[in-house]
């Protein structure tokens, strides 16, 4: 199975911070692209993304912080016509799941897994009251 590549696109330095946090849990991380939208126009951000995903001959996954932001619109626009899935709402559990499974699943199935893992990670828990 070919490794599914990924590009993290976020506001500010969240992508770098997420990778640093994931390294504390997973170990050294290679091959995860990172991109911030900071200071970039829509045209410039789309160009950056398009250049990165053009290097993926077998497709890949774009991981984005939230639906509706410029990372989202540019991510969707720049990957149009390619075998690339955009996953929004990326968090640490979802990123870790990607890292653990990127060599084991094809693009679509892996993207579905990541979404499920991210959704599962939201839970509520209260300590019992005395």
């Amino acid at each position: 199975m070919t490794r599914v590549p990924a590009l993290l696109i976020t506001h500010a330095d969240l992508a770098d911070a997420l990778v640093r946090a994931a390294e504390r849990v997973y170990g050294p991380i290679e091959d995860v692209g990172r991109l911030s939208n900071e200071g970039l126009s829509r045209i410039a951000l789309e160009k950056e993304i398009a250049e990165r995903v053009a290097k993926w001959p077998h497709g890949g996954i774009v991981l984005i912080d939230f639906w509706g932001g410029s990372c989202f619109t540019c991510g969707v626009s720049a990957t149009r016509g390619r075998e690339v899935v955009v996953v929004t709402g990326i968090n640490l559990p979802a990123l870790l799941d990607y890292l653990h499974n990127r060599d084991s699943y094809p693009v679509i199935e892996l993207a579905e897994r990541i979404r499920a893992k991210g959704q599962e990670s939201f839970r509520l828990q209260r300590a019992p009251t005395a």
Binding site: H11, S41, G69, T73, S77
Partner: protein, 168 residues
């Protein structure tokens, strides 16, 4: 008056619009006024999907100018977005009665010079800004509601006109 925000932003719909201004003002509708986006059904659909729960209309300058006054009389708040100063001017010249634009983001591109952290202008932008100010349209630089609004001509005195002068 339904219009609560007229904004110049090269990202059109994005997080600051939907989350920051949207949560504060809760618009019922967002007009994206952009000839290029209006010409592409796919692009219009993408922009519409970016603001869940809000009616997003994507249209060209002429259609927006024609419908601007009628929208003003509708119930519920509305935002209008254009991507640059030239389009803002074109909208006003086409007949839309806009008294002020919020400038939310005009990012760096070759040939543009920095006047603010997120506002870069070239001579074409400045000419459009002067024309808007000369028509009495105020231009305020402010990315999100929580930040301070600053008059463009204060940040870049070269766009000030005899009518406006630099303001604080």
């Amino acid at each position: 008056m339904s219009w609560t925000l007229h904004r110049i932003d090269d990202r059109l719909i994005h997080g600051q619009v939907v989350v920051a201004w949207g949560q504060r003002m809760n618009p019922a509708r967002i007009w994206v006024v952009d000839d290029a986006s209006a010409a592409s059904a796919w692009e219009a659909e993408l922009l519409a999907s970016s603001a869940p729960g809000v009616e997003v209309r994507v249209m060209g300058i002429a259609q927006a100018a024609q419908g601007h006054a009628a929208e003003a009389a509708r119930e519920g708040g509305a935002f209008l977005l254009v991507r640059d100063l030239a389009m803002a001017l074109a909208l006003v010249e086409a007949g839309a009665r806009v008294t002020e634009f919020n400038i939310g983001g005009l990012h760096y591109a070759p040939g543009k010079h920095k006047v603010h952290e997120y506002v870069y202008l070239d001579d074409v932008d400045r000419a459009a800004a002067r024309s808007l100010l000369a028509r009495g349209v105020a231009l305020w630089v402010q990315d999100v509601p929580a930040s301070r609004a600053q008059a463009l001509e204060t940040l870049d005195p070269s766009v000030a006109t005899a009518r406006t002068g630099p303001r604080e």
